[in-house]
Structures are given as structure tokens and as C-alpha cells.
């Protein structure tokens, strides 16, 4: 038999009496091995698909976003500091910088999240559920790249504790866990997640120092380029302003006319599509998000209904805004951004692909999903464009509709019930 199996079997008796240790053991065991349980009641055979596999496919669909996010952190960092402004200049340096910036965030999210999951699973005597696989993969992607680690930890802890465990664990939550963690940062530490400077990581953390990334900058570019002087470097021409912020102040023209210190266009269509721009870690790249969404739809894991109606809703609201711009508010810049360009800025597509489609918090009926997606699209666009205070609407729109999802389902079910009743009458 497999030596790994033997090892696990030899450990099992030792942890059997300790509740917590056994939960951890059980989590590890079911991660490594599909268990040997057989069917007892009901069907004698079961589908090869289980929740772990479902969840891991979402994580797989996120991988492209992770790769680009990692590189983009490094690229934006050096861009802001006026070094290696070509996309592939200093490729490994940028990759390394991004990796060392992202990895600690990823590790902290999982330490905190899994820690809480393990604790509650042990307390309830349940096995560990795999819901955190997806939340844990999503949370780092929707955080600003230079977010302090303790803040990520707190946000994750808050989300898992309040939004999930308090409601009874995986499958019982009302609100999207990943978004709750972001909304926590957004309201608790607004300075860290709004404005122009938070979307680029300027600093060097301890890992950058250990691996000599900082020393490299020092050696080849001098003291000037160290973060203490970041402000001056920024003023030299690099603006961390995101396309959203630019669009809010000056419309689509402002987005298009933003330039880098070397004179290049900062937000060309190609940059917007591939996500070479300041922003949250993983949600910048439209192409890779669409690729992930495509994978999930092809695999039948995420609901195409939600995605489709989301896009329709956003387009509908966007067109409405454009009409308003022509008829009523010709001065307001953001309203005038052409609706199809709205898809290129901000995290619209990421929210569509990975946030709105969370099966637990979305509407659960097929018709309900269409309404749910459409409403998010409309609401999110309204919050994005018309609201002066919150720069992006999807987080709030999705959380808002999370709460209304059961109501939507209620009416869909009610129509089914009425259909059945009308047969009798």
C-alpha cells in the first residue's frame, strides 16, 4: 500500500482523542486522499464530482489572475519609481518583487482563515469544509498590493468569523466572504484602500530586504529611489490614479490622456485589457478574468446566467447613463464615459466572474439568477457612476443583492407554486 497512507494510518490513533488534532488530521487526510467511505443509503454509486473539486476549479480559474497580479505588482512598483519602464524589462526582478509582496498576503489570509475554520470545525466536531479554498484564493486578489499584513489578517478574520461561522459555516453564509473582508478594510481603514497612492506598492517589505530586492535598487539606482523619497518620484510624472479615478474626474478623455513619466500612454486599450495598471492585486486584467470566467462556464461551475445578466444589467445602466449625459447632465464627466468603455475600467468583470457567481450567496433558482445578475449590474453601475464617495460599486452592489437573493428566490418559487395551483383551478 501507499507509504503515505501507511504514515497517515499510523498517526490516526495518536490524534483520535484530541478533538482539535483530529480535526486537523481529518482535514489533511481528506485533502490527500479521497476517503474510503462507500454509499449506504440511497444511490449505490455517486458522481465523481465533490465540493473540493468544484472549489478547486474556481481556484484554477483564478490562476491567470494570480500570475498577472504578481507581475503587475512588480511592474507598477518599478514604473512608479521610474525604473524598467518597458513591460518586460527587469522581468525577473518585477516577478520577484511581486511574488514577495503577494506571498505574505496569501499566507496570512490562509493562516488566519484556515485557523478559524479549523478551530470551529474542531469545536463543532465537524470535518473541515472546503469553502475557504475559494474565499482564501479570492481575498488576496481584491486587496490593494501594499496593504499591511495585519490588516489583511483582521479583514479575513472578521469575514470568516462574522460573515461565515456566525451563520453556521460553509453553505450557510448570506454574504460573500471575500467581499466582506474587503468591505471591512474599506470601512475600517479607508485610507488604505482609497485615493491614488494605495494601488501601487512603493515600499520594500522585510522579504524584499532579505532577498536583496531593496539592495538591488540601492546598488543600481542610488538612494534617490528608496521609498523615503517616493513622493518626489511620484510628482515627477507617475500618477497612481486608477482609470476609475481619472474617469470620475475627467471622463474617458482623462483616462486616455494619462501618461507615464516616459511619455507613453498609461492606459492604452491594451494595457486596460491586459491589466497593466495600478489596482487591486488580481482584478486588473480583463483578458485573464474573461479566460477564468470562460473556464468556469465551460466546466459548469459558475452560472453563465448570472454573468450574462450581470453584463446586460451593467450595459443597460451604462447606456442609460450615456443617454442622461446627452440629455440632462452634459457637464458630468463620469456619466459620459461610453458604456462599452465602462467594462474596461475598474473591477466590473472580476466581480462578474468570481464574486457575483458565488453559488451560496447568489439566487439559487435559474430565473432568480437572471434577475439577481441584472440587478447587480444596474446597481453597481449606479453606485460607480453616480455616487460621489465610493469609487467602485460592485462590492456594495453584490453584497446588497446577496441580501435580496432569498427574496428573489421566494418570488420565483412563488410563481412555480402558482403555476401548479392554476392547474387545479
Amino acid at each position: 500500500m501507499n507509504p503515505l497512507r501507511k504514515l497517515l494510518d499510523s498517526i490516526e490513533p495518536k490524534v483520535r482523542n484530541n478533538k482539535f488534532a483530529h480535526t486537523v488530521y481529518d482535514g489533511l487526510e481528506t485533502f490527500l486522499f479521497q476517503p474510503n467511505t462507500t454509499t449506504s443509503v440511497g444511490t449505490h454509486i455517486k458522481d465523481g464530482m465533490d465540493l473540493k473539486r468544484t472549489m478547486v476549479h474556481v481556484v484554477i480559474a483564478l490562476q491567470l489572475c494570480y500570475v498577472l497580479g504578481t507581475y503587475n505588482i512588480g511592474h507598477q512598483h518599478y514604473l512608479a519609481l521610474g525604473m524598467y519602464s518597458g513591460l518586460f524589462e527587469g522581468f525577473f526582478l518585477k516577478l520577484m518583487y511581486g511574488l514577495l509582496q503577494l506571498l505574505p498576503i496569501f499566507v496570512v489570509v490562509h493562516l488566519v482563515g484556515l485557523g478559524i475554520e479549523f478551530f470551529f470545525a474542531a469545536r463543532k466536531g465537524h470535518s473541515i469544509e472546503e469553502g475557504f479554498l475559494v474565499s482564501g484564493a479570492l481575498i488576496p486578489l481584491i486587496m490593494p498590493p501594499d496593504i499591511p499584513l495585519w490588516m489583511v489578517g483582521m479583514a479575513t478574520g472578521f469575514a470568516v468569523l462574522i460573515a461565515k461561522e456566525a451563520f453556521g459555516g460553509t453553505g450557510m453564509n448570506i454574504l460573500n466572504i471575500a467581499l466582506v473582508s474587503r468591505v471591512f478594510v474599506f470601512f475600517a481603514y479607508p485610507g488604505e484602500i482609497s485615493g491614488d497612492i494605495c494601488w501601487v506598492s512603493y515600499d520594500y517589505n522585510i522579504f524584499h530586504q532579505i532577498f536583496g530586492i531593496e539592495a538591488h535598487t540601492l546598488a543600481f539606482h542610488g538612494w534617490d529611489k528608496l521609498p523615503a523619497k517616493v513622493n518626489e518620484i511620484m510628482v515627477d510624472g507617475f500618477s497612481g490614479a486608477t482609470p476609475l479615478a481619472l474617469a470620475a474626474s475627467g471622463g474617458w478623455e482623462a483616462v486616455q490622456s494619462a501618461t507615464l513619466p516616459n511619455g507613453d500612454q498609461q492606459y492604452s486599450i491594451a494595457n486596460l485589457l491586459f491589466g497593466i495598471l495600478p489596482g487591486s492585486i488580481g482584478e486588473t486584467s480583463k483578458v485573464f478574468v474573461i479566460a477564468g470566467a470562460g473556464l468556469m462556464i465551460a466546466a459548469g461551475i459558475a452560472s453563465w446566467r448570472i454573468m450574462l445578466s450581470f453584463v446586460l444589467g451593467a450595459a443597460f445602466a451604462g447606456i442609460l447613463m450615456n443617454v442622461l449625459h446627452v440629455t440632462a447632465f452634459p457637464d458630468s464627466a463620469f456619466i459620459g464615459v461610453p458604456w462599452y468603455h465602462q467594462f474596461l475600467i475598474g473591477s466590473l468583470l472580476f466581480a462578474m466572474a468570481f464574486m457575483a457567481t458565488d453559488p451560496v450567496t447568489a439566487a439559487s433558482t435559474n430565473q432568480g439568477k437572471l434577475i439577481y445578475g441584472f440587478m447587480i449590474g444596474v446597481l453597481g453601475m449606479i453606485i460607480r457612476v453616480l455616487n460621489p464617495a465610493y469609487p467602485e460599486g460592485w462590492m456594495l452592489a453584490i453584497l446588497f443583492m446577496n441580501i435580496f437573493a432569498p427574496l428573489i428566490d421566494y418570488y420565483v418559487l412563488k410563481s412555480n407554486i402558482n403555476r401548479r395551483l392554476s392547474r387545479v383551478a
Binding site: 501507499n2 503515505l4 497512507r5 481528506t30 490527500l32 486522499f33 479521497q34 476517503p35 474510503n36 467511505t37 462507500t38 454509499t39 443509503v41 440511497g42 444511490t43 449505490h44 454509486i45 455517486k46 458522481d47 465523481g48 464530482m49 465533490d50 465540493l51 473540493k52 473539486r53 468544484t54 478547486v56 476549479h57 470535518s127 469544509e129 472546503e130 469553502g131 459555516g169 460553509t170 453553505g171 450557510m172 465551460a298 466546466a299 459548469g300 461551475i301 452560472s303 453559488p359 451560496v360 447568489a362 439559487s364 433558482t365 435559474n366 439568477k369 428566490d409 418559487l413 412555480n416 407554486i417 403555476r419 401548479r420 395551483l421 392547474r423 387545479v424
Partner: protein
């Protein structure tokens, strides 16, 4: 006929794709050729691109011709080898008849075909070959547990040692003293096996192999009053083959159903071919349907598979309704068919009966004997030579198991979704079952089985690579492939259940004991077997059937 021709399956599969655009990936591959050609030349027409296009087209043509010529060669050699007419079934390409069966569903004629898009076929290796063997074991056993809605301890009419003939009363339920359960063969009561709390598990009859039948009066169906017909059915033991909906219990004598449904095909995994089983029982069947017509106020519905040529006698019967269905499992279940043709509302009663039992009733009325002859398929990946056995109701299993690997095998009376596990030595075939499924036990660990599965397994999810080739049959086992979780994924039940019902919400209503919601969401229209495919595909591994039965019991208590 060579059943193992994978290439043949593949070509069949390609043909089955052509008319349906729902699975268009092959189309994409073929249309991909020209695009590839253009991309080689950077867009635009030029000499190079045309050459590549022509090359690609030629390649497709060559492959096609290769298939055609190869097919002819094989068929010719088969003819030479002396297979005669059967030679047409050889070869790599399907013959004309097979192709037309796949492409045009002409059996239904101009009638409406209920095309059920949703559903899922669990394809398992080891379908029974169309060969019948006679089988007459030493013991037969009637199992009170087979009949839903009965008390666990029925009232016995016999005791150990009593001599019985086929059709003699064995026991009845205290609540329904007019419905009798009778012996399938003649012989001596060998044992009354009891289980927990003295509930009776089996009444074992030691067959005397003489096949003596109790003689019942021969009733004239057209003139006899309904009450006499009913009481004859109840006396003889044929009554218990009626299943009453809602709740899926043995039918009540006093009820008059609004319709009776007969499903003439089974889509469940490893299902026996009803057309094969029924092909010699046309006269009895027709007589049986005449009896059924007397029992209902409404119509007798005979539900046919639009994809297969039906047995001729189905369409010969007058004054019945023929319904044509096409689709994956569970399209063959009467519950789904009723939902689409004659839905059950609150207060309605509908009965279902299998065509085989209808034939038994026909024989009862034409010859006056209760002769529950059964053709049982023994199938599954664990069976060396899966085939059919001609025997009687509730036959002992031990003799059927000669060709089955016994080690690590689970024996199931019925199909792998709804059947019951039985003991291969002492067990007997269930009352309503025409199939013994033999599959592997899945009590083993699999390293990263959830991520990188080490062997193919059936799944409705397309995340498994082999789901791209829908012709594949699987060697299944009973592993749960994951642990039980809360309902997380939505829409997967709906995707396989071709009914206008919200299964997950119905189950949740049951769990929260919400009477009105259960009723509103259509609990009367379903019984466990309808939800079996939902339970199979469930990624959260929820016991959907058990929950539904729980709900049905609750509804029955409340109403």
C-alpha cells in the same frame, strides 16, 4: 454481433452530434480548419492559405474514405465468413437502419414527442447480452419490505411447513386486509425470517418445481363489474404491482385513479431492455391493458421511447393514449412521464404499473392463474457474461452468481440508483425488480482523488476529461467520491431533473417541515426514484431520496 467495437461507438457518436447543435465542439473543431489556414497566412486569401485549406479538406476526405472502405471490407469479409444477414451489423460505420434510428426519430410518426433536454445517463459497463437462460432456484422469497406503506409486521396467513400453490395467500397488512400478497411458485413455506423488532424480512418458499397454480375464476373483462375485477386482482396477489402516486405506495383498493401509466422503457443504468423482455408477451399484455382500462375513469397511458422502434402490439391497443418520450435518464421513469402528460395535483391519484406486471394480469384474466414469470437481467462490470434469466418472481440469487466476481462486489436488486443491496447467497430478487446489478465496492483510498482522479468514473460534471467522449462506459464502484456537505452548488439538480420542480428548494422545505411549501413545490408529483439521479449528481453528497421519503411520510401523516 460485435459489441466491443469502440470505433463503431465513436462513429455513432459523431452521427448523433450532427443534428444537435447543443454539443457543438466537434463542429468547432471542423470549422477550425479554415481558420487555422488563415491564421497561417496572417489573414487574407493568398496562395498559401488556399493550399493549406485544400490540404486540410483532403485530409478530412481521406479519413472519411478510409472509414467507408474499411467498413465495406469488414462487412464483405463477414458475409464471406457466413454471417449472412447479420453481416450488416459488423463494420466501423453504423448501418442504414442504425443511422436513421439515431438521426430521425420516426417511430413516433406524426405524434408529439416529449423531448426532455435535461437528464443524465449513467453509463456502466456490462449491459446484459440479449440471451435468455432458464433459471429455477430452490427457494423463492416474498419480502414485505418491498411494499411501501405496509406495517413492518404483516399478518401471516401461512406458517412454516404449509404447502402453497402459486397464487396462494401468504400474508396481508392489518390496515388493508383485502390486499393479499401471494406465493409466486408452488412449494412449502421453508422459513419466515425475522429481522429487528420481529419485523418479517422474508417468507421463504422451498419450490417443489411442479409449478402448480391456484385456479382463479376466469372473468369476462367487458361484462364483469369493476368490484369483481378488483377483488380478483387483490385475491391473486397481482394487485400489489400497482404503485399509487402521490407517495409511491401500494395502491388502495377503494381508490379510482384518474389514469394509469405504463412506461415501456427503462433509462436507468444497466436497465434491462423491456422490448426484449416483453417481445413474446404481447397477447397477455394487451389483455392486461383491457383490465387496466376498467380500473380507471381516465385513460391508460402507454409511454414509449421515441428513439427505439416500439414493439408492434403497443400501437394495436385501442382507446389508450400513447405518449412518446425522448431523453436521457430519468425520461423512462413514470413519474417524469406523468409530469409531462398528466400532472398530479393535490387530491389526484395516479397508478403506475410495469408492462411485465400488466402481462401477468393479462394472463390472470385469460387463463385464471397467477403466473409471475420474470425475466431478470444480471448485469454490471463485475459480471463475466451478463445476460437475462427466465425465472419467477422473487427468485433466490445464489445460482445466478456463477459468473460474477464475488470478491469486493456489491449485489443490488434493482438498478444502482434505487436498488437494494442483497446477499448473493441468501438474497432474493425484489418484487419490482428485473435487474441484478453487480458493481465493485469502493472502500479504498485514492491519493488526490478529488483533484487528479486515477480512474474514469461517471459524472455529470464536464471537469473530467473523459466526459468529452460521451460514449464511454464506466467500471463503477460504490465510493462516495467525497464527503457530505451543506447544499452549496446550485442548479445541478435542476440540470438533471426534467420536471418543472425546484428539487433543492423542495428538499429544503422538507427539512424545515414547511407543509405549504412542500405542497406548493409539488411533492405530490415525485417519489424517491425520480430524485435518484439528483442524489447521484449531488456534489454535496446529500441523501436526496431519504429526505424526500421523509417528506412524503410527513405529508401522509398530515393529510
Amino acid at each position: 454481433m460485435s459489441d466491443n467495437s469502440g470505433i463503431k461507438h465513436f462513429t455513432k457518436f459523431i452521427f448523433s452530434l450532427l443534428p444537435s447543435f447543443s454539443k457543438s465542439y466537434l463542429l468547432i473543431i471542423f470549422t477550425g480548419f479554415p481558420f487555422m489556414a488563415f491564421s497561417q497566412s496572417g489573414g487574407g486569401f493568398n496562395l498559401q492559405s488556399v493550399v493549406i485549406l485544400l490540404l486540410a479538406a483532403t485530409m478530412v476526405l481521406v479519413v472519411f474514405l478510409f472509414f467507408v472502405f474499411g467498413d465495406h471490407l469488414i462487412k464483405d469479409s463477414a458475409r464471406v465468413a457466413g454471417y449472412g444477414n447479420k453481416a450488416n451489423t459488423f463494420g466501423v460505420l453504423p448501418n442504414k437502419e442504425e443511422v436513421s434510428n439515431i438521426i430521425h426519430h420516426k417511430h413516433a410518426g406524426a405524434n408529439k414527442v416529449h423531448k426532455l433536454e435535461k437528464g443524465f445517463d449513467v453509463k456502466i459497463k456490462g449491459k446484459a447480452a440479449k440471451v435468455i437462460e432458464h433459471y429455477d432456484p430452490a427457494t423463492y422469497a416474498v419480502k414485505p419490505y418491498d411494499f411501501k406503506g405496509l406495517q413492518p409486521i404483516p399478518k401471516m396467513s401461512v406458517e412454516v411447513g404449509t404447502e402453497v400453490k402459486a397464487g396462494d395467500k401468504l400474508f396481508y397488512d392489518k390496515n388493508y386486509p383485502d390486499i393479499f400478497f401471494t406465493a409466486p411458485v408452488s412449494g412449502e413455506i421453508a422459513e419466515i425470517r425475522r429481522g429487528d423488532k420481529r419485523a418479517i424480512e422474508e417468507i421463504v418458499i422451498l419450490s417443489d418445481k411442479r409449478k402448480e397454480f391456484k385456479q382463479f375464476p376466469k372473468l369476462d373483462i367487458t361484462t364483469a363489474p369493476r368490484s369483481e375485477i378488483v377483488s380478483l386482482l387483490a385475491e391473486s396477489g397481482a394487485w400489489s404491482s400497482f404503485i399509487e402516486r402521490p407517495f409511491g405506495l401500494v395502491a388502495k383498493l377503494e381508490r379510482v385513479p384518474k389514469s394509469i401509466h405504463i412506461s415501456t422503457f427503462d433509462t436507468s443504468p444497466l436497465a434491462p431492455d423491456y422490448a426484449f423482455i416483453m417481445k413474446d408477451r404481447g397477447t397477455h399484455f394487451k389483455k392486461g391493458v383491457e383490465v387496466l382500462k376498467r380500473l380507471t375513469d381516465g385513460k391508460v397511458h402507454i409511454n414509449l421511447n421515441a428513439k427505439k422502434k416500439p414493439l408492434p402490439f403497443y400501437s394495436e391497443i385501442k382507446d389508450i393514449q400513447l405518449n412518446w418520450f425522448e431523453g436521457k435518464h430519468p425520461a423512462g421513469l413514470p413519474g417524469i412521464q406523468i409530469h409531462h402528460t398528466d400532472p398530479i395535483d393535490k387530491g389526484d391519484t395516479v397508478w403506475t404499473i410495469s408492462p411485465m406486471d400488466t402481462a401477468v394480469i393479462g394472463k390472470l384474466f385469460s387463463e385464471g392463474i397467477y403466473d409471475p414469470e420474470r425475466i431478470v437481467a444480471v448485469a454490471g462490470p463485475q459480471v463475466n457474461t451478463p445476460k437475462y434469466y427466465k425465472t419467477y418472481l422473487s427468485a433466490n440469487l445464489s445460482g445466478l452468481m456463477s459468473s460474477v466476481k464475488k470478491e469486493g462486489t456489491r449485489f443490488i436488486s434493482g438498478n444502482v440508483l434505487t436498488g437494494k443491496q442483497v446477499d448473493p447467497e441468501k438474497g432474493h430478487v425484489g418484487y419490482y425488480d428485473h435487474l441484478i446489478s453487480c458493481i465493485k465496492e469502493g472502500d479504498f483510498y485514492e491519493l488526490f482523488g478529488w483533484l487528479i482522479p486515477s480512474y474514469p468514473r461517471p459524472s455529470a460534471s464536464v471537469t473530467f476529461p473523459w466526459t468529452l467522449f460521451p460514449f464511454e462506459e464506466f467500471d463503477v464502484n460504490t465510493n462516495t467520491h467525497g464527503e457530505e456537505r451543506a447544499f452549496v452548488v446550485t442548479g445541478e439538480y435542476e440540470a438533471v431533473l426534467p420536471m418543472d420542480i425546484y428539487p433543492v428548494h423542495l428538499l429544503k422545505a422538507i427539512l424545515s417541515r414547511d407543509f405549504d411549501q412542500m405542497e406548493g413545490l409539488g411533492i405530490y408529483e415525485v417519489i424517491e426514484e425520480d430524485f435518484a439521479i439528483c442524489e447521484f449528481v449531488c456534489t454535496s453528497k446529500q441523501p436526496a431520496m431519504a429526505i424526500l421519503r421523509d417528506g412524503l411520510n410527513y405529508m401522509k401523516e398530515q393529510s
